[in-house]
């Protein structure tokens, strides 16, 4: 159930990111959600996005292995087991408009931008606004208004 809710969130987040022009490639190309270290969630994500579009683009789900190229990934979800290596992974990639989502307490500290929290048996999320801005894109304020907490950097 938790995985299904997180998968649904990932699909929804795509509609609340203000992608800079050209960031997602030509208009017919899919919006790719990459999943690292969370195979079961990737399966839910495939179900959640089947036949659906985000801003007229189909959605593609890629199961990633460490070392895979992230060049076409628009949203990267990093499962709990892979979170400790996130910082190193992001260090090897040029800052680009890619929403990094984690599900671990240390997620934002590792460079994540959105982190899932489970509070009172409900799935919520927190946002690190400074990480988003550093990568050259913006999040819709609708997303920010629903976030449990928005960190603006410095804390």
């Amino acid at each position: 159930m938790e995985r299904q809710v997180k998968a649904a969130y990932l699909y929804r987040f795509a509609g609340y990111v203000e992608w800079p022009a050209g960031a997602l490639g030509a208009a017919h190309l899919p919006l790719t959600i990459g999943v690292l270290g969370a195979d079961a969630l990737a399966a839910e994500l495939v179900q959640a996005t089947a036949g659906r579009k985000v801003e007229e683009r189909p959605v593609a789900v890629r199961r990633l292995q460490p070392g895979d190229s992230l060049g076409d990934v628009a949203i990267l979800f990093v499962g709990k087991p892979e979170t400790p290596r996130l910082k190193a992974l992001l260090a090897m990639v040029q800052p680009r408009p890619m929403l990094v989502v984690t599900e671990s307490d240390s997620g934002l500290a590792q460079g994540g931008m959105v982190n899932f929290l489970v509070l009172e048996r409900r799935v919520r999320f927190e946002v690190a606004l400074d990480a988003v801005e550093r990568n050259g894109f913006r999040l819709s304020s609708r997303l920010l208004s629903v976030a449990q907490k928005v960190h603006t950097g410095g804390n």
Partner: protein, 627 residues
Amino acid sequence: MKRAATWLGTAAVACAAAAQGAGDLAELTLEELGSIEIVSASRRPERLSEASASVYVVSGELIRRSGVRTLPEALRLAPNLQVARVDGSQYAISARGFNNAIGNKLLVLIDGRTVYTPFFSGVFWDQQDVMLEDVERIEVISGPGAALWGANAVNGVINVITRRAADSQGVLAVADAGSRDQGLALRYGGRLGDNGFFRLYAKTDRVDHTASEAAAPVADGQRRRQIGWRMDWGSAADGFTLQGDAYSGKSDERAAFGTVQIGAVETEGANLLARWTRRLGDGSDFRLQSYYSHSEREDRLVYRPRERIFDIEFQHGFARGGHRLLWGGGWRHARDDIEPALFLGFDPQRKSSRWANLFVHDDIALGEKFSAVLGAKLEHNGYTGTELLPSARLEWKPVQGHFVWSALSRAVRAPARLDRDIRLPPQPPFLIAGGPDFVSEVAKVFELGYRAQPSPRWNYSATAFRHSWDRLRSGQVPPNALVQNMIEGSTWGVEAWGEWQPASWARIGGGLVLLRKDLRVKAGSTDPSGPANLGNDPQHQWSLRAAFNLPHRQELDIAVRRVGALPQPAVPAYTTADLRYGWRVSPALELSLIGQNLFDPRHPEFNAAPGRSEIPRSVWLRLRWTP
């Protein structure tokens, strides 16, 4: 608060989701995703007797979108409630009829604390306030909840549930300034060590007075202040909560009554509540709750009650075979001191009352599609001894997403001091001299309901009900009129509502209630006014609501409602509209422009012309800041 965490809206979504998977969850909004309760696979999702009842859940999000400022106005959002604004600060609120300012058939709780006043079994709505921004949801159950909630839950139960401290962290400031009312509310929430959270709030409100239909100003405005706090450790299922509030209020100064100075109505009160919940090793859960509250009302015209209440209750829930059992008990002690004023007195002036109850509730699975819920409560009160309040319900789930239920219950409205001890005027010779033999009013209730959530985009619900009444309160011809139980009859009707989300940025909802009453005075009674005294109710009321999310972080909410004419005293039917335009300027700041009662410059909702208040159109600006 009983284990009535009726996440009806979200439970319906969660149940649908559990079967259909992430695919249909993808249609939900961010807010809805954030409100789904994820249940671990090992336990059956909680499904309680209230699911087989006529329940409407007013969510915190709906309260915010509607722009309402006070608790009674928030209750208008529930289609199964009759809410009539009597004047600047008084309301008459009921469900399924019998509405008047001393309405006694509705049980109202805030976080498990009963806020209806035992000595007249009704609610002083000008003494009940909460910080609406921190209300998680309001569960409105129309119909008898007696088997679980006790006597006086005859026509319904309103359960106001505030957010846990962990869900109300940081600073929140809300300021309202408008043509008639102003208010300021501040809240701060933080952590308590490793495992705890707290919040603290303070609010002040000023409600403007109204004018009567004869255009004379009425001294019914009110200024009030309230502070409160809440501390939680652990989680809702396994933790400890301590909370409390204190308030004081003062109405406008009223003109002298003849030669007597009657001043203003002054109110004050405070409460303290502790709740301990525990999930035990065998999967069962346990709750122990206790509260103390005191309230005072100083009204030199009508009467001056002071009341202290102490309440302690527990419940234990467990599963055995196909049964999910819930049982528990409670004890309440109330001490009141009602000083006489010009109109009313009570004899004796001071009294201590005690109530004790024991209840049992069994949710029995009868195969894949059916279940039965059997419940009974035994309640003892000082006037009529022990009352038995049984209820039986049957639930049928023909296909996923559709739910049919039926219920048979016996509910009772036990005597209150108002019935037995009232003296009008306070000194003899009396016009009304109490009712020494007044016993409980009884209702036998049959309900049939249908609820469906065919897709996450729309849901609807309809309930048909019939209450058979006996021993309703009646009077006699004065002087020395006694309060008796000589009215009987039946009330029946339909409650329905639905919600549709045509696009991700629009939601439309509506509700309808139809009510018919057939009450008569029994032979042998000399009651001069008859059933009209028991409540003034419309035969129909409906509401329509639309919420739009506009580009550039703007929101527009429109609500239209119509309430049918009231028979006696005659009040014309009215249709009115409320509007809210909101703009999120930044993640921390939201501005809203809110208008209420927009169709007519003023309209009455209750009481007799020409002295009754007219509720005027009002507009205000709201600022909401969460840094």
